[in-house]
Every structure is written in C-alpha cells, then in structure tokens.
C-alpha cells in the first residue's frame, strides 16, 4: 500500500515536472501571453499593462507583405476607396525598405503607429479624439474626430491617414468612415480578447516570426525578456516619445 503511494507521488511529480518543461519548451511566448492577456469582456483596459511590439528587421522578409494584407483583411481597409488617389488612400501599416548607401545593405520593415507614450498626435488633438488607452494603445475616437488632420501633421512616423470618401460594409470591429482620421490601433479588439494583432499572427503564420507582441510592463513576457536580453531601438529615439513599437537590427 505504502509502496503504491510512493509510486503515485513519484508519478505525480514526474508528470507535473514534464508538463511544466513541455509547456516552457514548446511555446513560452504563447503561454506567457495568455496569462498576460487574461482580461474578461467587462474589464477595462488597465494601466497595469502596456502593449508593445518588437520587430526584428533581420527576420523580416523583403518581398513579404503578409502583415499588411492581414491588417487589410482584419480591419477592411485598402479596398473600396476607389475615388481617393493613392496618396489619399488608407495606410494603417506599410512595408518600408531602407538602403544603407555606404554598404548597400538593404533592410525591410513594417511601419505603423508606434504607440508612443507621449504621443504628439494626442497632444495636438483639439477635441480629445486622438487618445491613448490606459494600456498604451493610441487610437482615434472617430465619434468626436472633426477631421482637422492636425494629428497627421504631428505624427513623425506618417502613420495616420484620412478617409476622403463615403465607405460601407465596414467590419463590426473596425468602424471607419468619411471625414475622420485613422491609424493602427494594435487590433485593440483582438488584444481585448487575448489575441495577438493580425499582423503579428500573419508574420508568425508565414514562419518569419519577425514580430513579437506582448506586455512591456510584465517583466516575464516574451517581449520584455527579449528586450532586456538584446535591446530594441526606437525609430527617431531622439524625439523621446518612448514608443511601444521597437525594432531590432536597424
């Protein structure tokens, strides 16, 4: 009897340990993310979190635009704006190619709203439409946006666009319409459900894994661990905006 008890205890410990090891080994990022995201529908976005993204430009494939396509699909932009010129059309996220003239080194990276801690777009907005959520997501409250486009001028990353024409058939999760400014909102509707933004998911599905999403305030999140270990640069760090989107390999 006592022998079998011993066996059971040993067995239980062994199983528990191997489960823990397997969990960590398979996907530490995913597991940590799920814990960090845990927010019920009724919960408000909290300042205990700050959502951020880390983009490894060395892993970013030069010809690949999966993140852009995923964003278009998720938020239903990039089609239907047939009366707007190319310069006028929406651009929540775009691929940018940088060439070092001295070495000829070519880099490719996705650029979108950098979700600044001290966002110039929020500063300049005359109505309070350009806003930062408690959890660091910067977005436009189109209900009170008057379409002045001051935020578009203030943004150093050219991350915002203005809707010039009447739209229809928007996604329930991404309302957008004439006369308002819009930009990447880090897929707030997905983040609220505990999912990664659409671009990050697409990058991971394409096996590139160049984009990492997570909580910058959680020291144990995959993104925080990676940032602590290898660092991450801000684009235009000289502006002191403390961006939520960081880059490696720039």
């Amino acid at each position: 009897m006592s022998n079998s008890n011993h066996t059971n205890t040993y067995r239980r410990k062994f199983l528990a340990q191997s489960a823990a090891v397997a969990g960590l080994a398979i996907a530490p990022g995913i597991i940590l993310n799920q814990v960090a995201h845990a927010k019920s529908d009724a919960d408000k976005a909290s300042s205990a979190n700050r959502w951020g993204m880390l983009i490894d430009t060395n892993k970013c494939n030069k010809g690949c635009t999966d993140c852009v396509t995923a964003c278009k699909t998720e938020n239903a932009w990039g089609a239907g704006e047939t009366h707007s010129s190319e310069e006028q059309q929406a651009q929540w996220i775009r691929k940018v190619t940088i060439t070092d003239k001295q070495t000829g080194h070519v880099q490719s990276l996705p650029l979108m709203c950098q979700h600044c801690e001290t966002a110039p777009c929020v500063d300049v907005c005359p109505t309070g439409a350009s806003m930062k959520r408690e959890d660091g997501i910067v977005q436009v409250d189109k209900h009170i946006c008057i379409g002045c486009r001051y935020c578009m001028m203030a943004c150093p990353y050219k991350a915002r666009s203005f809707i010039h024409e009447k739209l229809e058939l928007q996604k329930p999760t991404a309302p957008r319409g004439i006369g308002t400014v819009e930009s990447c909102n880090m897929c707030a509707h997905r983040v609220d459900k505990g999912q990664d933004p659409a671009c990050v998911e697409a990058c991971s599905n394409a096996q590139h894994g160049a984009m990492l999403f997570g909580d910058l305030k959680d020291a144990n999140s995959a993104i925080s661990i990676e940032l602590k270990k290898h660092g991450g640069e801000q684009i235009r760090a000289d502006l002191g905006l403390n961006t939520g989107v960081r880059y490696q390999g720039l």
Binding site: A42, A45, A79, T82, M131, E134, H143, P172
Partner: protein, 149 residues
C-alpha cells in the same frame, strides 16, 4: 365688422385646413420597422422595455460606445453590433435593406421622424454575415476576405 355669415365661412375654412393633414394621413399607422430575429428573453422582447428603448436607445448606445472605444469594455450589453445583428433581417427573398431605405430597421423610424443619424457613416448597417458576402462580391479590387487574390 364681420357679418355672421362671413365669420361662419372663415370658421369652416379654418377647421377644414386644420383637419386636412389629419385626414390625409388617415390610415398612416406610423413607421413599420421589420421584426427582430428573436425575443431577447422569455420575459422581454428587447434588452429594455420597448417604450424605454424607443425613447432612450441613443443614450444607451452613446454610453456603451465610450466604454468600448475608450476603455476597452467588450460586453454585449447595449452594443450597436448586437442591435444590428438582431434587428437587421433579410426579407422573404433573402435580401437585406440598406440604411436609408424604409425597410431597414433603423431608417424605418428615422426616415419617418426625419431624424438624421451618422452612425452608419462608420458602422456597417448590416450584420457581418451579410456584409462579408457583399464585401467580396461588390468590389473587384477587394483585398479583404473572400476577395483575396
């Protein structure tokens, strides 16, 4: 001084003019919004008593919109998307009326009362199931679901 005969004539005309709009509208029973998909619960047809929701739906929606938009609260209570999903229904042919047409749930009353709303400048006037189909079929350049090439 007006004679009695003149006075009576004026009175008849006055009464006649007052009654004209009432008479011409005889048989108009007000707006006829299409029926919702289902009752909200066994006890209640809608999320609030009908009189309350008719009077105050805009306040509920406005409150909810700020909670969701600015604070990330994603509950279904008083959500515009939930209203649309239940109230905007296809006709017998399976076609959906669009906002602006008298057959659309929202515009059936809003057209009647001549109250303009901006909700559908940004929000879809159809449930996502129906919008998804139109999104892919409407637009040859569509990059979104279904139209993805």
């Amino acid at each position: 001084m007006m004679s009695f005969r003149q006075f009576a004539k004026h009175l008849v005309i006055l009464v006649g003019l007052t009654a004209l709009p009432i008479l011409s509208n005889a048989g108009d029973l007000g707006p006829t919004p299409p029926k919702a998909k289902m009752n909200f619960s066994d006890n209640s047809k809608c999320v609030k008593p009908i009189a309350d929701i008719r009077r105050n739906h805009m306040e509920l929606l406005k409150h909810k919109r700020d909670e969701t938009m600015r604070e990330g609260v994603r509950t279904k209570d008083n959500s515009l998307v939930e209203c649309i999903d239940c109230h905007v229904t296809p006709n017998k042919k399976g076609e959906y009326a669009r906002f602006g047409e008298d057959e659309h749930f929202c515009s059936s009353c809003h057209n009647y009362a001549a109250v303009n709303v901006d909700c559908f400048d940004c929000h879809s006037d159809l449930p996502e199931d129906a919008a998804k189909i139109l999104r892919s079929s409407n637009n040859p350049h569509n990059m979104t679901e279904g139209g993805k090439k």
